[in-house]
């Protein structure tokens, strides 16, 4: 007999259910290294086709399957089942409206990402037939920033993000810093204006939940601290 673990999964179908409930499933451990996403797939494909969740890359690079697993936000596709306490409680990311089961509505998260102008802003035209130059040292400043996969594990673990519906949150602020830190970018002023707003960087109280939650080991708190420093220097 194969060893099994119990998945206790948050279920909610807006067309049928008055309120959410939890349903238990047994997942067989059929090979070493099974991830939580493999468990969810096993449930869907073999036991209960009605379960809904998002997934794409299955290797932690697309940011589709941020979930709250045993109380902590993480990506289902790179979280080993064997590292978790049985039963494994699988919930949607906190504080976002649920569309169905584990699928949440990202509209507000994306809106905040768009607000910080998440694209390179330049005024000086680039050389016509070759790349702009950037030293390896300057390029290094983007490491730990550009790798963000927009999974929302950070923002949905942030108490300030829960409390203030207008707070931009760690993911959007990290993105803002990714561009401001880029030596090729000339949009710092526009972005810092937005971020200096009361719902921008100043809502962060350095609680560090976001850093713990980030599956890519990025550090939004540090980015926010850099933003605050820059704003003070520029005396907005």
């Amino acid at each position: 007999m194969l060893k099994t673990v119990t998945f206790s999964v948050f279920r909610y179908d807006p067309e049928k259910d008055k309120k959410p409930y939890y349903k238990d499933y047994k997942v067989e451990l059929r090979r070493p290294g099974m991830m939580v996403l493999d468990g969810l797939n096993q449930i869907r494909w073999e036991q209960d086709g009605t379960l809904a969740y998002r997934r794409s890359c299955r290797e932690g690079v697309c940011g589709s399957d941020g979930l709250n697993i045993n109380g902590v936000n993480m990506l289902a596709c790179i979280t080993h089942i064997k590292d978790l306490k049985d039963p494994i409680v699988v919930q949607p990311l906190p504080s976002m409206p649920v569309i169905k089961d584990l699928v949440v509505d990202f509209t507000d998260f994306y809106r905040k990402y768009y607000l910080v102008k998440p694209y390179l802003i330049t005024k000086t035209p680039p050389p016509s037939d070759r790349e702009r130059l950037q030293s390896p040292e300057d390029r290094k400043k983007l490491d730990g920033l550009y790798e963000c996969i927009l999974c929302a594990c950070c923002s949905t673990s942030c108490p300030s993000f829960w409390a203030d519906p207008d707070y931009l949150g760690p993911a959007a602020l990290l993105k803002a810093w990714r561009f401001i830190a880029d030596t090729r970018d000339e949009g710092a002023d526009e972005r810092l204006q937005i971020i200096n707003d009361r719902d921008g960087a100043w809502r962060c109280h350095t609680i560090l939940n976001c850093v713990e939650a980030c599956p890519k080991q990025l550090n939004p708190t540090e980015a926010i601290a850099e933003l605050k420093k820059t704003i003070i220097h520029r005396k907005f």
């Binding site: 086709g49 969740y53 794409s56 994306y110 694209y119 390896p136 390029r139």
Partner: protein, 591 residues
């Protein structure tokens, strides 16, 4: 069940797919005309995000390089099945599209002099095969992530319209003119007709039909099935690339960039066996050659582990510093999926299904084309394709690493430009046909209203396993004929498949079941193409016909789907005449 609403949208250009090809096309088309992108996932969750090693362009940032060398390598890599005009076009345009990406803000790694970093990759050489060259432009080993996010950021800046989490169900045509697509709103349910002057499929690759693969869950080749169902052909589907270095047991990719940076493969005796198979470039031979060498070593009992079923990829000797700087994603993947710290130990690897050389036939303008042995190619009005879903054909029988990210930039861009021009040239939309989307609407409603017989999961499992066993790295008449029969049975079973979820909101059961239907349709084209092609060329290797046969088989396969679901094959010549340089005549391939 109550009637499900149908909403009609009108745009000049509609692009299905928000990977690199779709977004690059959208950036271009939206400059001139009203453009919308439909994607089954939020754009940055498309598979391009997973690309690791880099994008090829003869920038000569590290050492002298030339687009003609790049062109030669690509033709040789394609085992002479690639169309030489398209290949010249792509290789010449490579520096331009890479520099554009830098200008858009893509965070490339840099050389000491501040230029874009370039690394070695399999099959890329200088001076027509003399030695490996540093041609592949990279952002560490997260090139696809850097590229896709940059393109999406530019789309945000330019206010491109997106319909995210919309799933295309049917290609719409009126007579011989493509007029848009029917799609399903995944989050809320409901049908949407996108009426367009020009429609592009940039729906990505199809190797999810193999059990061991390096692809995202969503890479189910939908665009191919919808093309077949609309009566158009697909080209060269039998050419499926098996990448040499998938993580043992799970198939996730370890980029060729690892070997580009100096890593190499070992058999159980600790021997660098590639020197016997590719005496000049060893581990940097093209992918079909390396994958076959590995499979051959295993067949001869020199595989590693108790089952002798994998090889070892050693890279610790290149040093922890370089690994963490240039291959940080690989370190993570190896650690998470193989429990290996690759700065200290080798990574266990096996070939993994990776890339679809075949696709929807297109020309230099990314227009979908019809043609035959004696019929010159002719564009289908209003229909375009780009990226892994298309077959330009720049990869022929085997793609070189880092040429796909290039392909999607070049043909995405050009396709976007041509669609805008075409849309501008049409004073009005060609009207929708009567009952537009009837077939797709019926397909969905009958699943939602039907009762469950077979389950999707069981049929899918058998499909993946049998394709791997019978239509994998090595194929024979016997295995392929067997697979033809298996597919017939699976198609019959599919007719009885029902879904458990009857709801409208985020019905993943519905989507995965539709995807399975798509996979079954084009799997038949893969198998029929492979069965007919009695030769070995590039990634298509027939044990019973181990030689390339230019006399009989130097031609592209075309597969059409008949009314009854069966496949009819046709062929068309390889376009051998480049645009400005002399033809590269077929030669034996040695690396």
């Amino acid at each position: 069940m109550a009637d499900i609403s149908v909403t009609i949208h009108k745009h000049d250009v509609v692009i299905v797919g928000a990977g690199g090809a779709g977004l690059r096309a959208a950036l271009e088309a939206s400059k001139g005309v009203n453009t919308a992108v439909i994607s089954e996932v939020f754009p940055t969750r498309s598979h391009t995000v997973a690309a690791q090693g880099g994008v090829a362009a003869s920038l000569s940032n590290v050492e002298p390089d030339d687009w003609v060398w790049h062109m030669f390598d690509t033709i040789k890599g394609s085992d002479y099945l690639g169309d030489q005009d398209a290949i010249e076009f792509m290789c010449r345009m490579a520096p331009e599209v890479v520099i554009e990406l830098e200008h858009m803000g893509m965070p490339f790694s840099r050389l000491q002099n501040g230029k874009i970093f370039q690394r070695r990759f399999g099959g890329h050489t200088k001076d027509f095969g003399k030695e490996a060259v540093q041609r592949t432009c990279a952002a560490a080993d997260r090139t696809g992530h850097a590229m896709l996010h940059t393109l999406y950021e530019q789309c945000v800046k330019n206010q491109v319209v997106f319909y995210n989490e919309f799933y295309a169900l049917e290609l719409l045509k009126n007579e011989d003119h493509v007029v848009g697509v029917l799609a399903w709103d995944i989050a809320n349910g409901g049908f949407h007709i996108f009426h367009a002057k020009a429609t592009m499929f940039a729906t990505g690759g199809y190797v999810r039909v193999y059990k061991t693969n390096s692809n995202a869950h969503i890479n189910t080749g939908d665009g191919l099935a919808l093309t077949l169902r609309a009566g158009f052909p697909v080209e060269d589907l039998e050419f499926v690339q098996f990448h040499p270095t998938g993580i043992y047991g799970v198939g996730n990719l370890i980029t060729e960039g690892v070997r580009g940076e100096g890593g190499y493969l070992l058999n159980k005796d600790g021997e660098r066996f590639m020197k016997r198979y590719a005496p000049t470039v060893w581990d940097l031979a093209s992918r079909d050659v390396v994958s076959r060498a590995m499979a051959e070593e295993m067949r001869q009992g020199r595989g590693c582990g108790p089952e002798g079923d994998h090889m070892l990829l050693k890279l610790d000797h290149i040093g922890a510093g370089i690994i963490h700087e240039r291959l940080p994603g690989i370190w993570e993947l190896a650690y998470v999926f193989a429990h290996v710290d690759c700065t200290k130990e080798p990574i266990p690897v096996t070939p993994t299904a990776h890339y679809s050389m075949g696709g929807i036939p297109t020309n230099l303008s990314a227009e979908v084309v019809l043609g035959g042995m004696d019929k010159p190619e002719e564009p289908v009005k209003g229909f375009y394709a780009a990226g892994e879903a298309a077959c330009a054909s720049v990869h022929g029988a085997n793609r070189l690493g880092s040429n796909s990210l290039l392909d999607i930039m070049v043909f995405g861009k050009v396709g976007g430009q041509h669609m805008a021009q075409f849309a501008q040239s049409l004073p009005e939309h060609v009207p929708l046909p009567e009952n537009p989307g009837k077939r797709g609407i019926e397909e969905v409603t009958s699943l939602l209203n039907g009762t469950a017989g077979e389950t999707m999961g069981a049929v899918w499992d058998e499909l993946k396993e049998s394709m791997e066993a019978n239509c994998g790295v090595f194929r024979t008449e016997e295995t392929l004929a067997k697979q033809r029969a298996v597919l017939q049975k699976l198609c019959d079973r599919y007719k009885k498949v029902g879904i458990a979820d009857k709801g409208l909101a985020f019905n993943l059961d519905l989507i995965e079941t539709l995807e399975l239907g798509h996979m079954l349709d084009y799997s038949k084209a893969i198998v029929e193409g492979a069965l007919a092609r009695q030769e070995s060329r590039g990634a298509h290797y027939r044990d019973d016909y181990p030689k390339r046969d230019d006399e009989k088989w130097h031609k592209h396969s075309l597969a059409y789907m008949e009314e009854d679901g069966s496949i009819r094959l046709d062929y068309k010549p390889v376009r051998m005449k480049p645009l400005t340089v002399p033809t590269f005549e077929p030669k034996e391939r040695v690396y």
